[in-house]
Assembly symmetry: C2
Homo-oligomer: 194 residues x 2
DNA sequence: CTCAGAACTGAAACTATTTTCAGGATACGG
DNA sequence: CCGTATCCTGAAAATAGTTTCAGTTCTGAG
């Protein structure tokens, strides 16, 4: 059926982006990766832009789903401290599983492309605002903070910066996570005890 | 003279990069922007890669020069608090002057490209390490901090993340600077008094 | 002035990639 | 089966961009 093939193509797009970024996003590579002909890409998605758009939308959705999942996964009978949940949410960006890494790379590319493309900037802004307000909410639960909005901005921007460090091999995923936790402690949102 | 023309070409490169990123870096655009023929680019810089390399090196040098200037501008008789100098160094990335913005855009692009290009990753890593160790030094001067290395990582990564927010229009330069100062206060490196 | 070498031009050749399209395969209701 | 609508292919055309190069202009020393 066609929808399966579409799906396969979108997944191939994600792998191609993860391997070479938006710059290395070639329809020939996508077709080869998906095991279909190059003509089929146009058939399903119109042109290169349509294909890329579909792939990036999918990345967006996946990220949103993961974020919601994280919030829902909390068992009601064993309440984890909100500071810990905050740390989890923020650190979920880092991790050596291929899917996590591919997602981070795609986001990194999307953010970089958004500088020059208002449409993409709008999409990034919306998704980022959702994420940041979720962080803001957890800050409110974790502690009385004087400037919770600023703290949410600082934490989310920090994660984005650390993501770049990690993806370029300047830090490990673990170091990035430790840095996030250190920042949370600095803001009084995580107790020092391990 | 040739060196003037070279300079003009490099400056044109910076404008082209600021306008369209590394992806939008076209030799035709550079030639048009510099008011020279396309053949001259090859004559002076060999090929596209050589041209791009020269342009990025120039961005690097400019940033380094600006940073040194900032450090040297401190008059010995009126010592500014190290926390303030730290804030200045970190906030110098944000600002609405075209040159500052162009420099930030170039860096943002370079960081994004470094994910897929080991050579660029090495260059970025080196420059980032220098900057971070300067921050680390100022932290040492500003206060006894339990984890100065982690603090330096957090602050520099934060600036990189905020830079992305600013360049995509998600925050203003001023908001980004305020966020940096808030983080510095949280880390006990800047007194609350204004 | 004149010549050599450096700076410079722009069109043509080349390369890489996307888009189109004529047609082949496949699924499926009648 | 048959017809047809959908899915799919891959080669050819179109497009976008870089590199080359034969030739022109400029510059300065002799």
């Amino acid at each position: 059926m066609a929808s399966e093939t579409r799906e396969r193509i979108i997944e191939a797009c994600e792998r191609v982006i993860a391997r070479g970024g938006l710059r290395g996003f070639r329809m020939g590579d996508v077709a080869h990766e998906a095991g279909v002909s190059i003509g089929l890409l146009s058939y399903h998605f119109g042109d290169r832009d349509g294909l890329l758009q579909a792939a990036l939308d999918h990345v967006n959705e996946s990220a949103a789903r993961r974020s919601e999942q994280g919030a829902a996964r909390e068992p009601a009978d064993e309440p984890r401290p909100p500071g810990e949940r905050l740390a989890d949410l923020l650190c979920s960006e880092f991790g050596d599983e291929p899917q996590v890494r591919a997602g981070s790379i795609a986001w990194n590319e999307l953010r970089a492309a958004a500088v020059f493309d208002p449409d993409r900037a709008a999409a990034v802004t919306r998704a980022t605002a959702d994420w940041q307000s979720e962080v803001r909410r957890l800050i409110g639960e974790a502690a009385h903070h004087a400037e919770p909005d600023t703290a949410a901005l600082v934490l989310t921007a920090l994660v984005e910066g650390l993501s770049g460090r990690w993806l370029t091999g300047q830090t490990t995923a673990h170091e990035a996570q430790e840095a996030v936790r250190a920042a949370l402690r600095g803001l009084g949102l995580l107790t020092t005890s391990l």
